[in-house]
Amino acid sequence: MLATMDFRLSSEQEAFRQTVRDFAEKVIGPRAEEMDESGEFPVDIVLQMGELGLFGLPFPEVYGGAGADFTTLCVAIEELARVDSSMAITLEAGVGLGAMPLYLFGTEQQKQRWLVPLARGEKIAGFGLTEPEAGSDSGNTKTTAELGQGEWVINGTKAFITNVGTPISQHVTITARTAPDEISNIIVPVDAPGFTAGRKYKKLGWHASDTRELVFADARVPEENLLGARGEGFKNFLIILDAGRVAIGALAVGLTQGCVDMCVSYAKERKQFGKPIADFQAIAFKLADMSMSADLGRLAVYRAAWLHDQGLPFKREASVAKLYASEAAVTAAREAIQIHGGYGFMDEFAVSRFYRDAKVLEIGEGTSEVQRILISRDLLGG
């Protein structure tokens, strides 16, 4: 018998999608505008997401997880992003970047201590790779960690780090030079002496997501906080980013779908020249294009997620999914404003928030240029 190709999610995954959609629409939706305006990180909502089990989706139950898989996590991120990107990135960064390094590289003891509270959704954590001089060139780490008397003494600065300055932040795992040509990962709890989560950046979008500069001034943590083998830190973080890209793709697909849904109902209601603007082909075709890009992005994201869940190589597919879906999201959000006309430019309409939230998708976890470098390198070798 031929192996069959099946594009459906399981009925449990579909049921869970519906749960997350209801949650997003009923709990997050009504607060999204106010959160965007105030820039406050909504601890209560994030803890409710934790109770739903969102932060433990891909982890086994022994670590406080739900025992689902990476694809199911992507579905959840997608459904949150359909309503609000700030909460979607809080989940994406919380699981994909914050918790995943512990799950993949932690010792049993480290998992029990650091992963369990994250998977249960009681705490969140961050991933500290980017520095002022190490963005796309993320291996250009300047932060140092020196071992002495059983402690790492850390000095340096991290830029644009998500999820570390909230009242429920537990730690950040960083890359640091433990020797001139050696990068390692170290777990830094937020209350470590010498560590400060600096002020919040003012951002174009993702207002309710926590993004901060982190400062390490003789910050001290115990030697046992080394995560993974010494010298493997950069390589290990790149592994984390491969899956992270798929999850960002899922966020982009959700944002695009949100644009489709808002625009379809607006275009049917808004009348000009005596008829709904949906009756104008110029508008209807925009909707068709937008919906097509949501579909194609979703296919690319689910393929990459599925490969990852199967334990198959997915690096190239991850870049394709992230690149396509994020650029489609930016286009969709721009067209969504166009379909809404002047109302779309006003803050009362969610499309304006979606437009501001979309842009960063082409930047975080590897810019579009970096994705094209990775994909072309795969084609050309080298």
Partner: protein, 254 residues
């Protein structure tokens, strides 16, 4: 404590309804667990979490009603009973009450919880009929509930406020939409629901005669409610407020 919750699968109320032979079309479109029943499931879960015991969800409906039962199981209910029988197509409120009462008796119960009325049929008569058939008290319109020793205490929603009502157990209870905040099913809950037991029954399993299971009501005609009139406009020439007040008084609103 054995708490039974009556649940119903209905066509998604967010979509426009469709009729066939003066009856609601239940196949084709998307069906959901009646949102009003989620309050009953949540109330039952809270009661058994506090007092121990099991929650059993009971539904009468087509085979597809299994999805509504699974939804309740994924919220945390322990087991289910589904009564599905071709002969029940077109059952009226009385037949529904007889069938459910028989299934409830067969299962055993300390408390039966239902919504005040279904979102689709809205007769609101089934819980009362069940209480009568079971010969137990009906505590209705609860906006708050508690069990102390073996007595059920509720706040019964009234037009002006609420009445404090007590009832011995076993009893039938109906809960309003304000009674609690139903939980969302977690992924773990959805996975566990797959392997929870659901007993499937036919009319014959309930000891009901064919006559008892036959509807005596027929719906002859369905007409949409008349569209609301244009309303009354008061021009404000300085006496606008007084005119509005007179109007409201006349309508007995104030």
């Amino acid at each position: 404590m054995n708490v039974l919750v009556l649940v119903k699968q209905i066509p998604d109320p967010n979509n426009p309804y469709q009729l066939a032979n003066n009856r609601l079309k239940r196949d084709g479109g998307q069906n959901v667990l009646d949102p009003g029943d989620e309050f009953g499931v949540e109330a039952a879960l809270q009661l058994t979490e506090a007092n121990g015991g099991e929650v059993t969800v009971v539904s009468m409906g087509p085979e597809s009603a299994m999805e509504a039962i699974r939804r309740a199981l994924s919220m945390g209910a322990h087991k289910g009973v589904l009564i599905s029988d071709d002969s029940l197509q077109g059952a009226d409120a009385l037949v529904t009450a007889r069938v459910l009462a028989a299934a409830i008796k067969k299962t055993g119960f300390d408390l039966v919880i239902a919504g005040v009325e279904s979102t689709d049929g809205s007769t609101g008569t089934v819980p009362g009929a069940i209480a009568e058939l079971l010969g137990v008290p009906l505590a209705s319109f609860a906006k708050h509930l508690e069990i102390k020793d073996t007595t059920l205490h509720i706040q019964r929603q009234t037009e002006k406020g609420y009445d404090d009502v007590e009832s011995p157990l076993p009893a039938v209870l109906t809960v309003t939409a304000g009674v609690n905040e139903p939980r969302y099913p977690t992924f773990k809950g959805i996975m566990q629901a797959k392997s929870k037991p659901v007993e499937q029954l036919k009319v014959g399993d309930l000891g009901l005669s064919a006559d008892e299971a036959k509807a005596t009501q027929t719906v002859n005609e369905v007409t949409p409610a008349p569209a609301r009139g244009a309303g009354e406009k008061f021009e404000d020439d300085g006496t606008g407020a007084a005119k509005v007040a007179d109007f409201l008084k006349e309508a007995k609103v104030i």
